[in-house]
Symmetry: C2
Subunit: 347 residues, 2 copies
Amino acid sequence: MFNRPIPECAENEYKEVAWGIKADGEKFAPVTINRPKVGDFDVKMDMLYCGICHSDVHIAFNQLGGKTMYPCVPGHELVGKVVEVGPKVTKVKVGDHVGCGCIVDSCLDCEVCTQGDEQYCLGGKSVHTYNDRKRYTHIGGNPDTQTFGGYSGSQVIHEHFAIKIPEGMDLKAVGPLLCAGITMYDPLKHWGATNKDKKMTIGIIGIGGLGSMGIKLAKALGHKVVAISTSANKMEMAKEKGADDFVVSKDPESMKAHTSTMDLILNTVSASHQASTYIPLLGVDGTLVQLGLVLEAHAIGVGSLYRTRKTISGSHIGGIASTQECIDLCHKANIYPDVQLVEAKEI
Amino acid sequence: MFNRPIPECAENEYKEVAWGIKADGEKFAPVTINRPKVGDFDVKMDMLYCGICHSDVHIAFNQLGGKTMYPCVPGHELVGKVVEVGPKVTKVKVGDHVGCGCIVDSCLDCEVCTQGDEQYCLGGKSVHTYNDRKRYTHIGGNPDTQTFGGYSGSQVIHEHFAIKIPEGMDLKAVGPLLCAGITMYDPLKHWGATNKDKKMTIGIIGIGGLGSMGIKLAKALGHKVVAISTSANKMEMAKEKGADDFVVSKDPESMKAHTSTMDLILNTVSASHQASTYIPLLGVDGTLVQLGLVLEAHAIGVGSLYRTRKTISGSHIGGIASTQECIDLCHKANIYPDVQLVEAKEI
C-alpha cells in the first residue's frame, strides 16, 4: 500500500461525497473526493446503485499484494442516471440510465482498443475505475487526481466508457453484470459461443457468482452447458440456473463420463487448484479458459495439449462494446444475479 | 515393447523386403513384411527415398516408453513412384510421384476428419504409418497385420493418404517435408499465418530441423520471423534460413527488447525446459504452441496468460489436405531441408 493524498479540488473538478478507506488499517467512512467537471465528451451520472465485488473488499483492505493507494474509494459496478452531458456527447442523454464497469479509460488508439478489447490496451494498461492513475486523455479534471469508484454520489466518465442500460431492466441488479457478467460473456464471445451457427458444449467450473452467471449466459446463447464442481453439493443449484448436466470433478466416474466432450471450459475457480484436472474434459481443439487469478503455477503436461490441439488460455473482464452486448443479452434473456441491497453506511 | 509376429502372408497381401528391427535389442537387418495388394482405392508406390527421422530411431530401439512392437520397420517420410492404382483411384496415376507421411488411416467420417484434421481423429486415434494396428477400413490386406513404414521396397496406401508431389521437386529432399514440414506448416495455418491479409510476427524456438523449416515456411508466407535460441551460436544459421531477427532467451536484455511483440511462437524444443520462459514475448492474444513432447510438466502462471488473453497450445503433425498445401508451398518457394543420402544397409 501507499498513500497518495487527494490533491486540492482543481477549477475543473468538483467535490463529491464517497465511502472509502482513508488510510491503511482504517474502516469504511465518508471521504470527500474530487470528480472532473463535465467536459465535451463526458457523461455525469448520479449513483443509484453500485455493486460490492469481492475484489473491492480485497483492494480496500490492501489484500492484493500491496497495490492499494489510500484514500481508496472502491466500486466498479456503477449504475446511475445521467444528469449532465457534454456538448459533444451522442451516446446518451440526460435522464438515461447508464452503467460503468471496471475500466474508465484506455488509449482508444492502439490495435487492441480499436478491435474493442480496451481491457487489454497496450498490454493491460487500461485505467481501472478506482485505485488507478489517469494515464490517457479521456478523463478530465486534475491529471494527478487518482480514480475513485462508485461508492459515491456521482461519477463523470467519457461517453465511450458508459454502458447504456435498456429501459425496463431491474436497476438494482444490473451492477454485477458489469463485472461478473462481462467476465463470463467476453470469453464466451471470443471463443465462438455468440456465433449463432455454432452449437457448443460448454463447461463452467465453480458454481459461485461468476459460474452462475456463466451458466445463464451460455444457456441463453443456445449451448449445452455442463456445470463442474468438486462435489455434488451444488448440483441442484447449477441445474436451477440452467445447467444441462453436472460433473463432479473429484469423482473419477463422473469425469470419465464427460471425457473429451467439451469445446470450451470457463474456469472461475480462484482458490488454489491445478487446471490440468480439467484438460481431459476437452475435446479436440477444446479450450480451457482461466478466469480466476490463482497465484500458484499450474503444472501442465504438453502431451495433454498437443495430441489433440487443446489450449489453455486466460481472460480478464471485457471491452466496452462487448459489455454493451452482455447487458443487452441479459435484458433480453432476463438474466440477473441474486442481489442483496445494503445502504452505504452498512458497508 | 512387445512382440507381434507378422501373420502369414494372406491372399490379399504380397511379400516385400524391408529394413527393420526384428526383436528388442537387435540391429537393423532385412525383414520380410506383408503389404496389402492394391484395392479399389489404393495406390502402390515403389520407394525412391524415405527420410530417417529422430523418432524412427527412438521407436526402432524402444526408447519411447515401451510402445514399440516388434518386428518394427520405421519410416514415415516416404517418397515414391506410383506403379499401380486401384480401379476407383482418381487422385494420382501410374508414373506420378507421391509421398506418404505419418498417418495412413483414420475414420474419415468424424467431425475432426471431415474438417481435415485426420491426425486428431477421435482423440488422436489415427493409424500411424508404422508400429501401429489397422483400426479402420481404408487399409487392405489382413486386418491383423501391423503397419510397416517406408524402409522398404514399396508401400500401398488408400489414395486419401497419398500426397501428390509436384513435377520438378527435388525428390531426395521431399521426405522431411512430410514430417518436419507439416509439423510446422499446420500450426502456422491453424493460427492464421496462411491468411494472406495478415502480417504477423512469428517466433520460432529451437533452430534444428523443425525450427529451420519453420523459419523458411513462415518467411515464405510473408511474416516477420524471429528465431529464438538459448545462445547466440545459431544466429548466423537462423538468419541464413531467413530469420529477420534473433532472440537469445538466456539474455535478459535480448528478451526485454522483444517483450510483447509476437503473435505466434512455435516451440520446437523437445529437451526439458519451461515454456513460461517464452510467454513474455507474446503480445495480446498471442499463442505459444508446443510441438516437442517434453515429458516434464510446464509450470504456467495464470497471471501471465489472463492479463492479455495469451494462450498455450500444442500441435501434432497435420492433416492430409494441409500436408498437400505444405508440399505445394515448398515447391513454389523452393523450400527443402538439408539432406544427406544413405543406403538402406548403412542405417
